[in-house]
């Protein structure tokens, strides 16, 4: 697969080989980075980060990744400060920004915005989240984190907990995990169940899927518990949110029945779904997961720019 100029829009566009390749390159870059401190693969290259919706973590992680590769960054972190406010179309914004940069990272509240941006732009476009649809780089860093922690993905039992209805991270992750020999527990309030079309698809692909509301009873089965925040901002109705707010809280008491090797992940930010006391336990993998964003995004930037092979 020729990665130079390739867009990274949806995990659905990836084959298992693609995913494995990115994870291998990320690992190579992480090791190189540890050795040398900084790299210069992308010297002279410019990344444009177009964040039409706020996201400190993802944006900083991309910016850090580009700086670590020796490149530079331009961009904005809210649509309010752009010509979009004047009524400019997304296509025109993209066509303008591509004149200034070599690669574009876009986060947009509308589903499909990154796909549209990629169709318009001649330079590579990387999706940093489009509405409640996809967040492929988060998925890749999640897989990278699991692989680094367990040395494998195949054979693991993974629980996805929380907002499985609106949470794009769990949608993409579940789709990517379908490439592997895993057993999945989908743990959520009834109101926030994983969309049926995704569950059907997982089953069609042979994944053993269990849907449950029972976190306590499921914990002993798991190698990985992937916790998500119940995202108030995605609920069309505040009352619906209040019904499920605070449904699950992971604390040390709950973790007593977990396997010793069980790891907890979270795309962050968290609100109250993981008690801070868990941070110090050997189960907590979420801050390591945050770090994984840098090597994985370095790999994607380097590959799509054609400066890393």
């Amino acid at each position: 697969m020729d990665w130079k100029g390739r867009d990274v829009i949806s995990i659905r566009d990836f084959s298992k080989e693609d995913i494995e390749f990115v994870l291998r390159v990320a690992e190579r870059l992480e090791n190189e980075l540890n050795e040398k401190g900084s790299l210069d693969y992308a010297r002279g290259k410019i990344l444009a980060t177009l964040f039409f919706e706020p996201s400190t973590r993802t944006r900083l992680s991309f910016e850090s990744a580009m700086h670590r590769l020796g490149g530079s960054v331009i961009g904005f972190s809210s649509a309010a400060s752009t010509s979009v406010k004047k009524g400019e179309s997304l296509a025109d914004t993209i066509k303008t920004v591509e004149q200034y940069s070599d690669v574009i990272v876009i986060r947009h509240p509308m589903e499909g915005a990154a796909r549209l941006a990629a169709e318009v732009a001649d330079i590579p476009v990387i999706n940093a989240g489009d509405g409640s649809n996809q967040h492929p780089t988060q998925t890749l860093l999640d897989l990278y984190t699991i692989k680094r922690a367990f040395g494998k993905i195949d054979g693991l039992t993974i629980g996805l907990l929380g907002d499985l209805k609106y949470g794009r991270t769990v949608h993409s992750l579940a789709e990517a995990l379908a490439f592997y020999d895993v057993e999945l527990y989908l743990i959520s309030p009834e109101l926030l169940r994983m969309p049926k079309h995704i569950v059907d698809e997982l089953r069609e692909k042979g994944v053993k899927v269990h849907e449950t509301t029972d976190l306590e009873g499921t914990i002993p089965e798991l190698d990985v518990l992937y916790v998500t925040r119940i995202q108030r901002e995605r609920f069309p109705d505040e009352e619906e949110y209040l019904k499920v707010k605070g449904s699950y809280r992971v604390n040390c008491e709950l973790l007593k029945s977990a396997k010793e090797s069980m790891k907890i992940m979270h795309p962050l930010p968290r609100v109250d779904e993981i008690h801070p006391e868990v941070d110090k336990s050997a189960h907590a993998l979420y801050f390591r997961q945050v770090f994984s964003g840098v090597p994985v995004r370095m790999a994607l930037l380097g590959l799509t720019l054609g400066v890393i092979e």
Partner: protein, 151 residues
């Protein structure tokens, strides 16, 4: 009671075996009712051995492409198309669903970019029986009545 006769056409296209009540939708999808278009005839609720009742659409002076005609497979999967030349059926084929549906179906997801930006809607056909489409942009899948409701 007098029987309604639909005139035979000399040159053009006859779309037969449309489920009763869907004839107007076929006309709308194929944009056959343009003022400067050819003569258009709709026969509705015609007795049919296969369907009980069916609609038939005849359009004179226009030969629809296979791709154009295949769009109607979304609402009339068993329709047949007759190409008429000099009052005779010169060619006859059944409609089939294309691999991609472009520009005729609105994405039901209100937050899909295709409903906000200047872009033609586009769906990939994921399954034919039952029909299942995936929006090229927001990746949401739609089936059944949701497809018909957004045509």
């Amino acid at each position: 009671m007098s029987e309604l006769k639909v005139t035979a056409i000399k040159e053009g296209t006859v779309i037969d075996h449309i489920p009763a009540g869907k004839g107007l939708k076929v006309i709308e999808i194929l944009r056959l009712n343009r003022v400067n278009g050819g003569v258009l005839l709709l026969a509705a609720n015609v007795s049919s051995g296969k369907l009980g009742r069916k609609d038939i659409v005849k359009v004179e002076g226009k030969f629809l492409s296979e791709e154009e005609v295949n769009k109607i497979a979304l609402i009339a999967p068993n329709a047949t198309v007759n190409i008429v030349r000099d009052y005779r059926v010169a060619e006859k084929f059944r409609v089939s669903i294309p691999d991609e549906i472009v520009g005729i179906l609105r994405c039901p997801n209100p937050n899909c970019v295709s409903n906000h930006e200047y872009v033609r809607s586009r769906f990939h056909v994921e399954g034919r029986e039952p029909l299942k489409l995936r929006c090229h942009y927001c990746e949401r899948t739609i089936e059944g009545d949701e497809i018909l409701g957004n045509l």
